[in-house]
């Protein structure tokens, strides 16, 4: 069993996993088409119920729904960089790269949303980051503005849920002090 350095939380490896945890680990690898279990899921597996909940969130909000996967990855990357969550920023940056998001767009997502194009993508990203960072101050005008981009109510709910998911995973990763997976670290080093 491995432990996280700062808080000594145990990380359940594939060989240690049994029962429901093992089944979810298999589902994670199969669904995400990756050969490893990300550290955040290994750590959350300290509670099978927390693992079930976290994977359920990931599956339903991120992997399903009507919004394009690239847009979702871009939104989550913007939120995690805004929160300075190193773990989630790394994961979402690599995901964006794998989805062919250019370096120029990645830089705009992290530093200056006004440089994003097309307008629809820019407005969705800005609205989503606002939902995550400052939801209390969203106004009727913000909603009107985003609806002018032709966003349906279903898409609107998904954008809000995605912002909430960003907050959820940033909270977990930062609170648990999760180390960046070597696969993601290498991908970023090889840029």
């Amino acid at each position: 069993m491995n432990y996280l350095p700062i808080n000594q939380l145990p990380m359940t490896g594939r060989k240690d996993a049994t029962g429901e945890v093992s089944e979810i680990f298999n589902d994670i690898r199969h669904t995400m088409d990756i050969p490893f279990i990300p550290n955040i899921f290994k750590t959350v597996a300290g509670s099978p119920q927390a693992l079930i909940g976290s994977w359920g969130l990931m599956q339903n909000v991120y992997l399903q729904g009507t919004l394009p996967m690239t847009l979702k990855a871009m939104i989550l990357y913007s939120i995690s960089t805004a929160h300075q969550c190193k773990y989630c920023s790394a994961v979402h940056e690599v995901t964006c790269q794998n989805l062919d998001v250019s370096e120029e767009i990645l830089e705009a997502l992290a530093q200056d949303h006004d440089r994003l194009t097309p307008i629809r993508v820019r407005e969705i990203v800005k609205f989503a980051v606002r939902c995550a960072d400052d939801p209390v101050n969203l106004t009727e005008a913000d909603y009107e503005h985003i609806r002018e981009q032709g966003i349906s109510n279903e898409e609107l709910i998904e954008i809000i849920a995605l912002a909430a998911l960003g907050n959820y995973f940033d909270t977990l990763a930062d609170a648990m002090k999760i180390d960046i997976d070597s696969v993601y670290a290498e991908a970023l080093n090889n840029k």
Binding site: N7, L9, N153, A163, A164, M176
Partner: protein
């Protein structure tokens, strides 16, 4: 059709719900022992995937967690009031009362966490609020302090999960503007 006041998100009325949404509404009413699922769930039902996820997650976690429900409700109430989420504060204040949390404790949770007793509950709530509000500043010492209260590794993970879940709920409620639903008339056309 009724709508939430600020966001104008339409509500899927309980009598109009079909399929997966109707099943989720039934499950929620039955588990919570309430006559209505409330405007929040009716708004979420615009995306059946999101509604099913949030309701199922909530119910399943509460059914199987090793943490006591009163503690979880107190934690969510404290986080939501700290984040100024009117909707979740009100909802979890009601949840706290429903499991017997008294006025003195409710007052302490929002105005003076240092006066919460017993010590174990105080340390757990302080740790969990820090997880939600300023997770980057958590240190080894914070983990040591909560472990000193006999908190197991599984409980620790469930506490952090619950802090994240409270952040998720507060974000959805504040962004969708559920906070005004109890004070304002829903818009009808």
């Amino acid at each position: 059709m009724r709508y939430l006041p600020i966001s104008k998100i339409p509500l899927v009325e309980e009598e109009d719900a079909i399929g997966e949404v109707a099943e989720t509404f039934d499950k929620f009413r039955s588990f919570m022992g309430v006559p209505s699922v409330g405007a929040a769930n009716m708004a979420l039902a615009n995306s059946p995937v999101v509604l099913t996820l949030t309701a199922d997650l909530f119910i399943r976690f509460l059914e199987q967690t090793i943490l006591p429900h009163p503690l979880l409700f107190m934690i969510h109430y404290t986080i939501s009031t700290t984040k100024n989420c009117v909707c979740c504060s009100a909802g979890f204040e009601r949840a706290c009362r429903s499991v017997g949390i008294d006025e003195k404790m409710l007052e302490a949770l929002i105005n003076n966490l240092d006066s919460v007793s017993p010590e174990r509950v105080r340390e757990i709530i302080q740790f969990t609020v820090k997880c939600a509000v300023e997770p980057l500043s958590l240190t080894e010492a914070d983990y040591d302090r909560v472990r000193d209260q006999g908190v197991s590794e599984q409980e620790l993970v469930e506490l952090i999960f619950w802090a994240g879940y409270a952040m998720l709920n507060d974000t959805v409620a504040d962004a969708a503007k559920w906070d005004d639903q109890e004070r304002q008339q829903l818009i009808e056309d």
